[in-house]
């Protein structure tokens, strides 16, 4: 939604108010994510940290990297690459957990590490 102007190539100029607003939110979320790491929520710690990271990354992508105002095709590229990465991680994790019950104790490669 780049505004039409006398210089069409200038595209969208990010207002300073938006810029500093985004930075403030990023810094607040950094503080929250560090503070949350001192508290033990068990398994939720990972999901809290990842959730905050996703929101922070989205803010950077949308505003600092102008995706919100850009041609939608650029967003398509980045969303597709992130979706493929998710697929990679999910399938690899699923695969490795699939093999766990089949591991026969004592039949792993013998690397001498710790005699205890």
């Amino acid at each position: 939604m780049a505004k039409k102007s006398a210089h069409p190539q200038v595209g969208h100029v990010l207002p300073l108010r938006v810029m500093f607003g985004v930075l403030a939110m990023l810094l607040i979320m950094t503080y929250v994510t560090v503070a949350a790491s001192w508290v033990h929520f068990g398994r939720f710690n990972l999901w809290i940290a990842l959730g905050i990271a996703v929101v922070k990354a989205s803010l950077v992508l949308l505003f600092f990297m102008h995706l919100k105002y850009d041609k939608p095709f650029n967003a398509v590229i980045i969303i597709v690459s992130l979706a493929l990465l998710m697929l990679f991680i999910v399938i690899a994790l699923d695969d490795t957990s699939e093999y766990l019950p089949n591991q026969i104790p004592g039949y792993a490669p013998s690397i001498k590490t710790n005699p205890q």
Partner: protein
């Protein structure tokens, strides 16, 4: 090409094969986004390695992350976020033709990059001095820095069984951690790989309970150094690129008509920031 009269006037920055500056800008931007997509996939392989090792060996990650300094890591996050702001602002300054502001903001961004690498150096140096190195170089030691590095992955294993491996404690590291068991049986321990007797399982559990070093902690440091190292190389590259943009801005190459390189280097710098946004909690803020 041959006859100048065939062409209407066009600015020096407009390449011959583009109709308009706008078309040139959009084509270049598409190329940069494609490049950034490949960057995500490059780091993606390391994120997958991280995910699998953490899923299978949570105790290694819980144990080892206490040797990373959350304060230093958090400071670096803040530095990188601020340098992202100065970069975004620099693009704005270029768009609005504010040359002096552009130069100042680019210089600040470079300063942020060096600040980040400086703290990274302090962190790496501490790991190096404590022998917290990846793979076969992993040889943690507490007091004696002159100790010859042991070739075995876990030198503590050579000590007498009566003296369990001491939990290495850095200043600031807190006591025993949340207990997690490896999801993969510790079967790679005996010479023939036949370890998983109930006694050995209990011994491994005791080590974890006492906050002592679990087996194969070097895996964490391999992943840590690979991920932060590749990211650090990207920061160095970014510093180089922004320096190039800075030199060109001093020369007065950029203005509202043409600021393409500022914008594209900015996109790269922001992506490096985005990657750190994920690396920081995944490596420093575990448990």
């Amino acid at each position: 090409m041959s006859q100048a009269s065939d062409h209407h006037e066009h600015p020096p920055y407009l390449q011959h094969h583009f109709e308009t500056a706008g078309q040139q800008f959009d084509a270049g931007k598409l190329g940069i986004w494609l490049f950034l997509a490949t960057e995500i996939l490059l780091f993606g392989g390391l994120f997958v390695a991280y995910a699998i090792y953490r899923a299978n060996h949570p105790e290694i990650f819980l144990y080892a992350h206490q040797y990373l300094d959350k304060v230093l890591g958090g400071t670096n996050t803040v530095i990188l976020l601020c340098s992202s702001l100065t970069m975004a602002w620099a693009v704005r300054a270029a768009q609005l033709g504010q040359r002096k502001l552009l130069i100042l903001l680019l210089a600040l961004t470079i300063l942020g990059g060096f600040g980040f690498m400086g703290i990274k150096y302090v962190e790496y140096k501490a790991k190096w001095e404590h022998g917290l190195l990846p793979g076969k170089h992993f040889a943690p030691h507490e007091e004696s820095h002159g100790e010859a590095p042991a070739p075995a992955p876990a030198p503590a294993a050579d000590k007498a069984p009566s003296a369990p491996p001491a939990a290495i404690q850095l200043p600031g590291a807190k006591g025993p951690l949340v207990v997690e068991r490896s999801r993969i049986a510790d079967s790679a321990t005996g010479p023939t790989g036949t370890l998983s007797t109930p006694e050995a399982e209990a011994a491994a559990a005791d080590r974890v309970h006492l906050g002592q070093r679990p087996s194969n902690v070097q895996i964490f440091f391999s992943i840590y150094f690979l991920m932060t190292g590749l990211h650090g190389i990207h920061v160095l590259l970014g510093i180089g690129l922004i320096t190039w943009i800075l030199v060109r801005s001093v020369r007065g190459d950029f203005g509202p008509e043409y600021f393409t390189p500022v914008d594209f280097v900015g996109l790269y710098w922001h992506l490096v920031d985005v990657i750190w946004i994920f690396l920081f909690p995944l490596l420093y803020l575990i448990g």
